[in-house]
């Protein structure tokens, strides 16, 4: 019986060892225990893959992950969620410290209570499953902060769940990478919260890479305050079932959001990105590009929604979905949408689906490159735009090599 069936059947053991926070989440989940397949953000979901995601046995145990890339982590603050290392770093110009217990509990409690049981189902499931030792809460302030690396991992044959809350104080400038590592035959639920204070700049990377039959649902919840800048680069690959839900709220407007994301699907995989960007004040800015690359019999989904209410005058938003279909059997669904009430705005959206450019391929082949070499170079250029946007060290994470090796 999977976790949802246990919720539906009100399994008595389900409360065992659960915190108050988890119990509140369970109550909320019971309102809507299964995502509604008619809902736009679940409509394209592959039911059997989603079911498999839920079927893994749940575990809160920590296993140290195998972390690829180079071991040199100088000038880097690395946090592995679940490891339970005390974090309290302070220098003249900056500070990274853990949030107080009450701050974490109150924050999550508010989020759970305010959650829409359909739109925020993934967050609710995460908060029901995640125990305290798999929640990390950080407060970051200052400038010249070392690169922050947060690692979330799943373990072979298990379903793991992690939550991270990062509060970025006013005037802070920081680069954060969240690396999601999926072990083979595993499932991972992650909820990430970023509160970006006034006049702050955050460069954020989410890199999710799995192995054979990895499953992941990652929700990203960002609140941006006045004059803040949030730059997000995301990359998802090698997941049998992958889902990234991006919820960004420009709370007061007057903020800047830049997003470049990419998902690569092979074999029979399904990877989806859902982006919901809300402008709740004037003069907001968004530039979003989502790239998909679908091979074999895989399925790639992108759905974006830009919400511009009456208050959000002078919003300037662009959402573009560019997709590359590498096989006649692969499928790409893309739907960038606008919901505009304000009348003085500049908003655009668009989507393209294409195949590898034949003229480019012939040009390279006419110079002696094999079809494989030409395609690799072309893919490298396709990847480069997003990879160069990720705030990660090239020396440590050679993602291009990793991606091309997997092709």
């Amino acid at each position: 019986m999977n976790i949802i069936e246990r919720i539906i059947k009100s399994d008595k053991d389900i409360f065992d060892g659960k915190s108050n926070l988890q119990k509140i989440s369970l109550d909320r989940l019971r309102v809507n225990p299964i995502p509604n397949s008619k809902n736009e953000i679940w409509r394209q979901t592959n039911k059997s893959k989603f079911s498999r995601f839920l079927d893994f046995k749940f575990s809160n145990d920590f296993y140290y992950p195998q972390i690829p890339g180079h071991s040199n982590i100088q000038n880097t603050c690395r946090i592995i969620i679940g490891e339970n290392k005390r974090i309290d770093l302070k220098e003249k110009k900056w500070e990274i410290k853990e949030l107080e217990e009450d701050e974490i509990l109150n924050f999550l409690k508010q989020k759970i209570i305010q959650s829409d049981t359909t739109q925020n189902w993934s967050n609710l499931l995460n908060h029901f499953l995640t125990d305290r030792k798999n929640i990390v809460g950080l407060n970051i302030s200052g400038k010249d902060i070392p690169y922050l690396e947060v690692i979330c991992n799943s373990v072979n044959n298990f379903f793991n769940s992690k939550t991270i809350i990062i509060n970025i104080e006013e005037g802070t400038s920081v680069s954060i990478s969240q690396i999601n590592i999926g072990d083979k035959n595993s499932a991972l639920s992650i909820s990430s919260y970023l509160n970006i204070g006034v006049d702050s700049v955050v460069n954020h990377g989410i890199i999710s890479f799995g192995k054979n039959k990895s499953h992941i649902i990652n929700t990203l919840n960002v609140s941006q305050y006045k004059n803040s800048e949030y730059n997000l680069g995301s990359l998802q690959f090698e997941y049998d079932f992958g889902r990234l839900e991006i919820n960004i709220n420009q709370v007061e407007g007057n903020a800047k959001t830049n997003i470049k994301g990419m998902q690569i699907t092979n074999n029979n995989e399904q990877i989806s990105t859902y982006a919901n960007i809300a402008f709740n004040g004037p003069n907001g800015f968004l530039d979003q590009l989502n790239k998909s690359l679908a091979n074999d019999k895989s399925h790639s989904v992108f759905e974006g929604l830009i919400i511009v209410p009456q208050i959000a005058q002078k919003t300037d938003a662009s959402q573009l979905s560019r997709n590359l279909l590498l096989s006649n059997y692969a499928k790409i669904d893309t739907k960038p949408q606008l919901e505009i009430v304000a009348d003085d705005v500049k908003c655009m959206h668009g989507a393209t689906i294409s195949q590898l450019n034949e003229d480019e391929v012939f040009y390279m082949r006419s110079r002696g490159l094999t079809l494989e070499q030409a395609s690799k170079l072309q893919l490298r250029s396709y990847y480069q735009e997003v990879i160069s946007f990720l705030p990660i060290s090239k020396e440590r994470w050679d993602l291009l090599t990793l991606l091309l090796k997997n092709k």
Binding site: E358, D359, E360, F362, Y363, M364, R365, S366, R367, G368, L369, T370, L371, Q373, A374, L377, Q378, R380, S381, Y382, Q384, E385
Partner: protein
């Protein structure tokens, strides 16, 4: 080019070549024989089949040979893929070199050079060895090394793109180079640089086909043979004076020739 004392070897021989694309026959019986050390010019009106001929020799997948034969050094090249033809020594200088954003020119040139070197059973070059080689070749076309770090042809001017083509020719050392309207879009200084580059690369072991509309490139590089193409075949062959005749009289006579035949 140095004096032509060596014994000429047949490099490229095209016999009664018919080819089509999308059920439209474009080449209607092309015959041409090119020996080592020779420079040939193919001239003709737009749409006469010059560029198609160059693409078919290079193996463009959009074109189909319906009959006839193309031999490189006595071997039929029809079964070869475009890259195999390039590795064997066929080089096509594009009329409109393709821009490939994001792909480094240096990396592309290195992979291409090593593919040719591998075919020639020469050692492949590592990045440092290749940089030394490419810097030496840059001088031939008076290009700055900054071009190497840019994406292939992206943001290059028309002249820079053509110089980049000649740089590739210099690196690949082809047996036969087909330069499709390399002179188009060049100002007089750029034309001289490109022409001078071609002359420096030309040697007795290889040959060059210049596809052009105009005499001005041929003033810089004197061809041994000039062929006039019309309606998918070569209708006249002569020496370099034929190009001067064309410059003077134009191509109207080719229509009459085609109508009569």
């Amino acid at each position: 080019m140095e004096s032509k004392k060596e014994i000429k070897q047949p490099l490229l021989e095209i016999s009664d070549l018919f080819a089509s694309t999308e059920n439209l026959t474009i080449l209607k019986g092309v015959n041409i024989k090119i020996n080592s050390g020779e420079i040939h010019a193919i001239m003709g009106r737009n749409g006469c089949g010059k560029s198609t001929l160059s693409k078919i020799i290079a193996g463009h997948p959009s074109y189909e040979i319906t009959s006839g034969r193309i031999e490189l050094c006595g071997n039929d090249i029809e079964p070869l893929e475009p890259e195999e033809r390039a590795q064997s020594g066929i080089f096509l200088g594009f009329q409109y070199p393709i821009e490939i954003p994001g792909v480094s020119n240096l990396e592309f040139l290195r992979v291409a050079t090593n593919a040719r070197r591998k075919f020639l059973k020469k050692d492949e070059l590592d990045i440092f060895e290749f940089e030394d080689l490419v810097k030496e070749k840059l001088d031939i076309v008076k290009m700055d090394s900054a071009f190497l770090s840019r994406s292939i042809n992206q943001g290059f001017s028309g002249g820079e793109k053509k110089r980049n083509e000649i740089l590739q020719m210099a690196l690949l050392e082809p047996k036969i180079a087909i330069l499709d309207e390399t002179d188009s879009g060049l100002d007089i200084d750029a034309l001289r640089i490109v022409a001078s580059g071609i002359k420096k690369i030309a040697n007795e072991q290889s040959s060059i086909i210049l596809i052009t509309h105009y005499q001005r490139l041929l003033e810089e590089i004197q061809p041994d043979f000039v062929h006039v193409m019309a309606d998918g075949k070569i209708i006249k062959t002569g020496d370099s004076t034929l190009a001067l005749e064309l410059e003077k009289n134009g191509y109207e006579w080719t229509d009459e020739f085609i109508n009569k035949n």
